[in-house]
Symmetry: C2
Subunit: 185 residues, 2 copies
DNA sequence: ACAGGTTTGTACCGATTGGTACAATAAACG
DNA sequence: CGTTTATTGTACCAATCGGTACAAACCTGT
């Protein structure tokens, strides 16, 4: 083995932060190098596919986190109200109570959608489907459950947008609190 | 006078479409030139401030449209339910029933926020404030009206994001329909 | 200490970025 | 018809873009 490789998780986290802050086009290799403290040599050593592979790895990483911490709780066999509560807790944790943007939401808007369309679609699809499942177990009928799930995921995205627009994370926290009341009612 | 100037409104509309589709960073002058059919000479003649002035003019144009067609109806002195209905109609019209993205929402996410933070903030602020006003005239108390308005504007943004993520404009139409029921109830 | 493979900095590449300068052009007005 | 003035294409600029090549530095297993 050669030199000690830096921990990949921390690297992916830093990369994610840069992409979140500046979008795909706005994230230059120079900025990545500055944020991570790595030169091009190291970056292209870990990600031979360049910027696109970096963004792909970041998306996969986020995807896995949501799978484990947000979607999975919804599919558990316990009482659905508690499952939904845990989902909202994880959501609030991930988005740092509104201080963090959603990378997949940002990518959905600009033309990163062309490169990562499948990942983006799958991410939102699984979120809505698992939430709708929990809502049905809580007694909602199929069409209403689906609509309520759609509204909730859309509401999260919109609240994140507003929180960033106003530079007031509380907008997100408040919105999440109202969703909690609405979903368990 | 010199040559006949192309109509500024059509030019701004084309510019807006390019910015909406590719974001601020992703919109190169080459792309603008191709989309508008104008060379750099013309572009810098109309917008001496370059790309930033173009984006600013586009935002001002959108701002004016929303002021007249979306915010103003909410402030009218007629019955608030009809006012809210007209607001939703104009919203659906502008976003082409979900086929069009929101430029201000997109700018709020990436670092265009640094350049146009005030415009973005003002846009969402006026939307929420005018809607909350109409809701109060409809009988809602102040805090609930404000929260409902916030949820609605956030919901529009989120629905646009989802519609783009899934490439299914119907997601937006459905969401808007549910908002209509929720707001007039 | 040595050899192996890994990590890293640096120099370099062509292409494209936003922006400037300016001469050529064409319409409107006297 | 000629002058004026707004419009336009083209050439050019330094800076930066994403990406490649490769030799030097380094850590680890023997």
């Amino acid at each position: 083995m050669g030199r000690t490789a830096p921990d990949k998780d921390g690297l992916l986290a830093t990369l994610a932060e840069v992409f979140r802050e500046h979008g795909y086009e706005g994230t230059s290799l120079a900025r990545i190098g500055h944020a991570t403290g790595l030169g091009k040599g190291s970056l292209y050593n870990f990600f031979p596919g360049g910027k696109e592979e970096m963004a792909g790895a970041v998306l996969a990483n986020i995807d896995a986190w949501f799978d484990e911490n947000v979607f999975a709780p919804l599919c558990d066999e316990c009482e659905p109200a508690a499952a939904i509560g845990r989902m909202l807790d994880a959501t609030d944790l991930y988005f740092r109570s509104g201080r963090r943007a959603c990378l997949l939401g940002a990518f959905a808007l600009d033309d990163s959608r062309d490169r990562f369309g499948n990942e983006i679609k799958s991410y939102f699809d699984r979120w809505i489907a698992s939430l709708a499942g929990a809502l049905m177990r809580a007694g909602h009928r199929q069409p209403e459950a689906r609509q309520l799930a759609e509204d909730t995921v859309a509401g999260v995205q919109g609240a994140l947008t507003l929180a960033r627009a106003f530079d007031e994370p509380e907008v997100f926290s408040r919105s999440l609190k109202r969703m909690r009341e609405r979903l368990v009612a």
